[in-house]
Symmetry: C2
Subunit: 376 residues, 2 copies
C-alpha cells in the first residue's frame, strides 16, 4: 500500500490524498460502504460502481468467519473472488462485533471467547487467529484485533482495556509479519487507537500506535454513544499525534456532518452502516437535507428524490414513487433508498476532496453541515 498527500486545506487539518493498493486506487477522503457479509445490503456490485462510485468496501471478519465460513472464502480464492468485487476491500477485525453481537463473551489476556449470535456455537478469537482469518479473507487492508470499549467506560476499565489492546496489537503485528497473503497481492495492517474519552489515554494510545510504524492507522472506540463534542475532541487529539504521511481511519463514523468535521480534523477514511441501515428504515440523505420518505407529505410529491444528486436514478425517480415502494415494504424501496444514501455519502467525500484541492473547504463545509442535516 502507498499513500500520497496531494493537498492540504489552508484553514483546517483537512487533506486530500491517494491510497494505492493492488486492487486499485482510493482517493481520500473516502467513505467506505459497509458490506457486513461480503456484500453491501440491497445494493448490487454493478451499482456500487456505476451509481455510487464506491472505491473500497468493508467486510466483517466476525460475520464472514461465521458465515459463509473462512473455509468457503479460502476455497473461492479470497473475498474478491467470492463476491466479484475487484476494487479494494477492508475487513474489520471482529473486535467490535464480539462485544456488541455475540451472546456470551469472556475476555482474557489470551483472547476473546464468545458464542455465535446465530447458533450459540462457541468460538475463541486470539490476535493471531484473527490475523490468520483476515489473511484468508484476503482484504487489502486488515485491522488489528482490539477491544472496543463501550460508552460510558470508567477510567480503570479504559486503562486496562487499552493496555490489553496494545499487547494484542504487538501479537497481531508479529503474526502479520510472519505470514503473507495467500493470494499473491499485498495486504496491510492498520492498528487501532483506543482510550475511551480520556485525553491522557488517547494520547498514550496514539503514541503507542504511531510507534508501531504501520502503513496506516485507525481510531476506534468512538461513535459509540458519546457526545459529538467528545468524539471531535478525541479525534483531533489523536490526529495531531498520528503521522501525517499515513492515512487515518475513523471507524464507524457517522452522519454527513460527522464526516465533514472528521475530515476537517485530518481524517482520511470513514465507514458507517448509517447510510444503508437508515435507508432500509426510509430515512434519506439528500443534498437539500434529510427526508423521512414514509411521511404522508411525499404521497403526491412528484419532484425527483434528490434533484441535485449526481446519481441519475435519484433524478429520475420521484419522492412519491419511492414513498409508495417504502410504504408498501417493497424491497425495491430499500434498494433505491440505499443507493440514494450511499451516492450522497460518496458525493460528499468527492466534493470535500475537490474543495480541499481548491482551498475552499472551510466555507463549503460550514454551509453543507447545516444544509445536509436539515429535516425536510
Amino acid at each position: 500500500m502507498k499513500f500520497s498527500l496531494e493537498a492540504q486545506d489552508p484553514n483546517t487539518k483537512a487533506r486530500a490524498g491517494r491510497i494505492t493498493t493492488d486492487h486499485g486506487e482510493i482517493e481520500t477522503p473516502i467513505f467506505m460502504p459497509v458490506g457486513t457479509l461480503g456484500a453491501v445490503k440491497a445494493v448490487h456490485m454493478h451499482e456500487l460502481k456505476t451509481f455510487i462510485d464506491a472505491q473500497i468496501i468493508l467486510g466483517n471478519t466476525y460475520h464472514l468467519y461465521l458465515r459463509p465460513g473462512t473455509d468457503v472464502i479460502e476455497k473461492a480464492g479470497g473475498l474478491h473472488k467470492f463476491n466479484s468485487w475487484d476494487r479494494p476491500i477492508l475487513t474489520d477485525s471482529g473486535g467490535y462485533q464480539v462485544y456488541s453481537l455475540s451472546a456470551i463473551r469472556k475476555i482474557k489476556e489470551e483472547g476473546a471467547e464468545f458464542r455465535s449470535h446465530i447458533d450459540g456455537s462457541k468460538h475463541f478469537f486470539t490476535p493471531e487467529f484473527v490475523m490468520d482469518v483476515q489473511r484468508k479473507i484476503g482484504a487489502d487492508i486488515i485491522m488489528a484485533f482490539d477491544e472496543c470499549t463501550p460508552y460510558p467506560c470508567d477510567y480503570k476499565y479504559a486503562v486496562n482495556s487499552m493496555g490489553m489492546t496494545h499487547r494484542w496489537l504487538e501479537r497481531c503485528v508479529k503474526r502479520f509479519k510472519e505470514t503473507e497473503s495467500p493470494y499473491g497481492y499485498s495486504q496491510t495492517l492498520f492498528p487501532i487507537v483506543q482510550g475511551s474519552v480520556y485525553r491522557d489515554l488517547r494520547k498514550q494510545s496514539a503514541e503507542f500506535i504511531a510507534s508501531m510504524d504501520m502503513e496506516g492507522n485507525a481510531i476506534g472506540g468512538l461513535s459509540v454513544g458519546e457526545p459529538d463534542a467528545d468524539m471531535y475532541e478525541m479525534t483531533e487529539l489523536v490526529c495531531d499525534i498520528l503521522p501525517k504521511e499515513k492515512p487515518r481511519y475513523l471507524m464507524g463514523v457517522g452522519t454527513p456532518a460527522n464526516i465533514l468535521e472528521g475530515i476537517a480534523l485530518g481524517v482520511d477514511m470513514f465507514d458507517c452502516v448509517m447510510p444503508t441501515r437508515n435507508a432500509r428504515n426510509g430515512m434519506l440523505f439528500t443534498q437539500s437535507g434529510i427526508i423521512n420518505i414514509k411521511n404522508e407529505k411525499w404521497r403526491s410529491d412528484f419532484s425527483p428524490i434528490d434533484p441535485d444528486s449526481d446519481c441519475e436514478m435519484m433524478r429520475t425517480h420521484t419522492k412519491a414513487f419511492l414513498r409508495h415502494l417504502v410504504h408498501e415494504n417493497e424491497m425495491l424501496g430499500a434498494q433505491i433508498s440505499s443507493i440514494n444514501n450511499l451516492s450522497l455519502y460518496l458525493w460528499l467525500v468527492r466534493q470535500a476532496r475537490k474543495k480541499i484541492k481548491e482551498g475552499t473547504f472551510t466555507p463549503w463545509k460550514k454551509e453543507m453541515v447545516v444544509k445536509l442535516m436539515t429535516r425536510l
Copy 2:
C-alpha cells in the same frame, strides 16, 4: 395497437409476431414480468432493460387502486410517469385479486363488493368503474373485469359465472368505447375467455369473446389448480377459436414448460409471479434446470449461477456466493435470484421466437421442456 404475424411454426400452432403500442414494440411470444404495485419486486427498472430485456411489464389494478391510489397515479400523469417505465405496460382488471385476496366479497350482477386486504375498507368494483380506473392508470393494454372461477368449479356455477363475465364484458366495452386515454396515447382492451374446464363452456365463451372483435384476446381461469393436461386442452380449444390475426394472452401461466406448451398451442403472451416469487424463496430457473440455492450442496460450488445465461450477472456471480446471500436472508440474494429467473424467462421466449422463425421450434421445445424442468 397493431399486431402482425411474422412466422408460423410448420409443426405446431406456435407463431412469432409483433405488437406495436405507443410505448414501443413487443416481440411475441413474450413473457411479461409482474409488477403488482407498479414495480417488479426486487428488480430495478434499469435492470429490467439491461439484464432482462423486458419488453412489457404488468401492473395490478386492484393493488394500484388501493395503493398508492388512483388519484396519485392520475396526478403523476399515469403509471408510466409514476414508475418511470417507458416501455409498454398491461394492467389486469383486479377481477382475480378481488376473489383471491380481499377479505369479504359479494358478487352481484352490478359488480363486486369487497373489503381491502390491507385495512378492511369497503369498495365496489363495477365493470364501468374498473374501466375508468384503468384509463387513469394508463396502461397500454387493459383487461376486462371478469370473474375468475376457482378450481374445482361445478358446472352450474361455471355457466352462471361465464354468463355474468360476458355481460360485464359488454359493459366494459361500452364504457371503454365511450372514454379515451387521459394521457394522449392509445389504450386497448382485451376481453377474457372463461368457462372453467368445461369444453362446451370454453367454446361458447371463446366464440362470444371473438365476436366482440377487440384487438387482442385473453384466456383466464386457468393455472388455478387444475391438472396441466386440462389447462393445455382448454388452451388449445380456445386458441383454435380465437382469431389468428390477434394476439392471445394466457393469463397467469406458468412454469417454463407451461410456457413452451402454451406457445405450441398458439399463445403469444404470458405473465406469472412464479419467476419472481420463487426467486425470493431461493428457487432458481437455469438453462440446465431448477436449483434450490439454499441447499448445502452449493456451499462451495464456485461455478457461475448459470454459465449459459445471456445475463452477464449470472455468469459472474457463483452459486456459492448466491447461496451465502440467500442463506443469510440478504436482500441482495432475492435481487440476484429475481434477475436470474426473469432473464431465463425472457431468454426462453426470445429463443422460442427464433426457433419458430427458423422452423426448428418442435425439436428444440421437446429438448428444453425436459432440460429446464430437471432438478439439479
